[in-house]
């Protein structure tokens, strides 16, 4: 295991995509210390900002308030990345495998365009979780993002596959231009959820304001949610599906596109 302890929060964003199991697994401690990071536009050594302990292996632990450290775990394919504290923008961007765990909050673009792996955030996340970068046609293509706290704008924008679960409230445009995959909103979301969505499923356990371009289609208890519930239960977050507890109202849209997406809103039994 390798442990990085942040000496102090940098004054400007630090770009540290080397903080990834793939980049570190074969390196000795002194090689790791010398890895390049960018402080603003200046190229610096990793050990100017972090204390480094241990070497080898694909298990990484980062301690400290890394809210200004960007691109951690970029493109990682394997291993474990544990962050005891906060993390900056683009955490786990384009990752395809492995696990990221964060005890604090994370910035924007968490897991943007990821294609696999699991990200678990105990705190809050910024905007564009699992989204497509500007100009990209599709956002996350597989994998699982679990956020215990809240999330910002454009959650899952243009996502194509995979699952995002948010425990806290979510801001506007969740599932914007969604093409597939599943978003679970345990505390609902603000405005324009599912705008321009083509396909995919948004599950909300709380009533949410809907766009007029979504039409009420049915009331039912979809079978596939049992599978999702079982999988999510292994991460400690349940999902109601039983008829005895309530039912889902299904809305289809966004007919402005026109899309074949769905928003399922949970209605507990009175």
């Amino acid at each position: 295991m390798i442990r990085f302890t942040l000496k102090e929060t940098p004054s400007v964003p630090l770009e540290a995509e080397v903080l990834s199991p793939d980049a570190l697994v074969s390196l000795a401690a002194d090689q790791i210390r010398a890895l390049p990071v960018l402080l603003g536009k200046r190229r610096r050594r990793l050990d100017e900002f972090f204390e480094v302990e241990g070497d080898g292996g694909d298990e990484i632990e980062i301690r400290g308030d890394a809210q200004r450290v960007k691109w951690i775990g970029r493109g990682m394919t394997r291993g474990t990345l544990r962050i005891d504290g906060n993390a900056g923008m683009h955490l786990g961007s384009a990752m395809s495998g492995g696990t990221i765990e964060v005890s604090g909050d994370v910035g924007d673009w968490l897991g943007a365009e990821m294609t696999g792996g699991v990200i678990r955030v105990r705190g809050n996340a910024g905007g564009q979780v699992g989204a497509a970068y500007r100009g990209g046609l599709s956002g996350m293509r597989d994998g699982l993002i679990l956020i215990d706290g809240s999330a910002g704008l454009e959650l899952g924008m243009r996502m194509k596959r995979g699952t995002i679960v948010v425990g806290g409230p979510v801001r506007d445009f969740a599932g914007l231009q969604m093409k597939g995959g599943t978003i679970v909103l345990r505390e609902g979301a603000e405005l324009r959820t599912g705008a321009w969505m083509n396909r995919g499923t948004i599950v909300s356990l709380k009533p949410i304001p809907l766009l007029p371009t979504f039409a009420r289609a049915a009331t039912y208890n979809p079978t596939f949610l049992r599978l999702y519930a079982r999988r999510l239960a292994s991460f400690g977050c349940g999902l109601p599906y039983d008829e005895q507890d309530g039912r889902y109202i299904r809305y289809t849209g966004d007919t402005a596109v026109p899309g074949k997406g769905e928003i399922l809103v949970w209605e507990p039994r009175a």
Binding site: Y133, G135, G136
Partner: protein
């Protein structure tokens, strides 16, 4: 300027009847000179074992202007995936991809051995912008054609039977745009599109007019181009582009042209049979037969390659149809009283019947039209594929076996609708030099381009070995443009500036007084700002109309 000798290369110069002769080429002051007039001590390039060809000439491409910028903005996903050009000591940064940026366009063309390009569709209203962009495309020389077949001034005069005045208006507009010739896109159809219609039949009056037909527009503009003695004839994008069964329109257009000179653009998109998308088939044989019998016509292939493309054309109604077929993105522009424009990103897929037929038709036309001096290598960049993929087409043309291997990848259903399996012709190196350089230069009337005779511009491309394998065309060892070595060992070394060729056809001095009041009535800009000033062009050269 420095003198240069290229020694020991095998020279292919079809315009001067030289077919694979080992000889020296001498260059001084940017031109090819006779051996005796070269000063001693000139730098020598040892081209032993290499192939020496005249620099490529692209007769039909879209590399600058409003429509192209619209396309650039519409496909950011392509820009992200595009090849990056980092800035260096003498090179500017840019992006390659489907719609390369200005500087990258120059590097990519030169890097492939092409040294002259013709921007084939410029509305007069965006001519100033187009010239600014052409100004920023380094190395290659440029010409541009101005859109005329849906210009309401011209159509109104044709309706009124004032052919003579129409000629002077066209002449004035060509000079106002600082263009090199006349482009006609879907004659009458783009005008009809402003009413939500199209012009599908050549002999019916177009929407908004009582008598003017597409046929009348075509023959009038062809006559005008001849009367004005323009070096390049009317450059015609026929009606019904892309539509199954459109070969009949294309052959009828050839009849309507009735002996006038004309260049038929991207002929591939105009040689389909069938009644709808499910019955679409190749009619390249019928189109090639009709074309072979009309010696005054030239054409470019507009070949399609599988993969990503962006379709950009003034043909607004067609683009709307294509958008409905793809369901992706669509851009549409109205250019006041002159023309329109549509943009649709597109992916050509080999499993798709229509795309498979399109791929085959482009190659079939290149193989079935027997005079290489009349059919030229293009993809209608970026419509059928990017210009930097020309080497792939060259490979397909030079190697029948490779072509048949590729053919096997198409579904059986597609193979029943095309003729390509029966065509065994293989292009020779000399024929490749004709369709990619000598032919288009002759069709454009650029007498100093496309050949290596004494007095020609020293635009020379040197490939490392005899490129039987067409892909080698991707990597010239040296490219010489105007006497300067711009590419060495496949890398852009010396970035020179390209020139622009324009024409100044004769026109009645009073015609401006006719246009001005009309213009002030119907346009949104001031007349004084309409015509492009000479200062906007980089190193322009006015070519004679004779």
């Amino acid at each position: 300027m420095k003198a240069l000798r290229i020694s020991g290369g095998t020279v292919y110069d079809p315009a001067n009847g030289i077919d694979g002769v080992v000889k020296d080429l001498c260059i001084a002051d940017g031109c090819i000179v006779a051996d005796t007039s070269l000063a001693p001590g000139a730098r020598t390039i040892d081209a032993t074992g290499m192939v020496v060809l005249p620099g490529g000439v692209d007769v039909h491409t879209h590399v600058a202007g409003g429509a192209l910028n619209f396309a650039r903005g519409l496909v950011p996903e392509n820009q992200r995936a595009a090849r990056k050009f980092l800035h260096g000591l003498d090179r500017r940064a840019g992006l390659g991809g489907m719609t390369p940026t200005t500087f990258a366009t120059g590097y990519l063309y030169a890097g492939m051995g092409w040294t002259t390009v013709n921007e084939a569709a410029v509305p007069i209203l965006s001519a100033r912008h187009t010239h600014e962009e052409l100004h920023d495309i380094p190395i290659v020389d440029k010409t541009s054609l101005v859109l005329m077949a849906n210009n309401e001034f011209v159509l109104d005069l044709l309706e009124a039977g004032e052919a003579e005045r129409a000629k002077h208006v066209v002449s004035w507009l060509v000079w106002a745009a600082k263009a090199y010739g006349i482009k006609a896109v879907n004659p009458g159809g783009v005008e009809a599109w402003k009413w939500g219609k199209n012009a599908n039949t050549l002999h019916a009056p177009i929407e908004g007019y009582k008598t003017v037909t597409p046929a009348q527009i075509i023959s009038s503009l062809a006559t005008i181009a001849d009367d004005l003695k323009l070096p390049h004839p009317i450059h015609l994008h026929c009606n019904n582009l892309g539509v199954p069964g459109n070969f009949a329109t294309t052959t009828e257009t050839m009849r309507v042209l009735d002996g006038h000179r004309a260049h038929l653009a991207h002929l591939q998109f105009h040689a389909y049979g069938g009644d709808d998308w499910s019955t679409m088939r190749s009619e390249s044989a019928k189109v090639a037969d009709a074309f072979n019998a009309q010696p005054h016509l030239t054409a470019d292939a507009g070949a399609v390659l599988f993969g990503d493309a962006v379709t950009i054309t003034a043909d607004g109604p067609w683009q709307h149809l294509l958008y409905q077929l793809t369901g992706r993105k669509w851009g549409n522009l109205d250019v006041e009283n002159e023309t329109g424009c549509g943009i649709v990103p597109y992916v050509y897929k080999d499993r798709n019947l229509v795309n498979g037929v399109q791929w085959a038709v482009g190659l079939e036309l290149l193989l079935l039209i027997d005079d290489p001096w009349r059919i030229f290598l293009t993809t209608d960049h970026p419509n059928g594929g990017c210009f930097w993929r020309y080497p792939e087409i060259i490979h397909l043309l030079m190697n029948a076996e490779f072509r048949k291997e590729q053919l096997q990848k198409l579904p059986e259903k597609t193979r029943q609708r095309i003729l390509l399996a029966d065509l065994d012709r293989e292009y020779t190196l000399s024929e490749i030099a004709i369709i990619s350089s000598a032919g288009p230069a002759r069709s454009l009337g650029l007498s100093r381009k496309g050949h290596l005779g004494v007095g020609a511009d020293a635009d020379v491309t040197i490939y490392p070995v005899r490129p039987d394998h067409g892909f080698l065309f991707s990597y010239p060892r040296y490219v010489i443009k105007g006497g300067a070595i711009v590419v060495e060992e496949g890398d852009v070394k010396d970035v020179t500036e390209g020139r622009e060729f324009i024409v100044h056809p004769e026109c009645d001095a009073q015609i401006e007084e006719y246009i001005r009041p009309l213009f002030e009535k119907v346009y949104t800009m001031s007349f004084a700002n309409y015509a492009v000033e000479m200062e906007r062009l980089r190193d322009p050269e006015v070519m004679p109309c004779k």
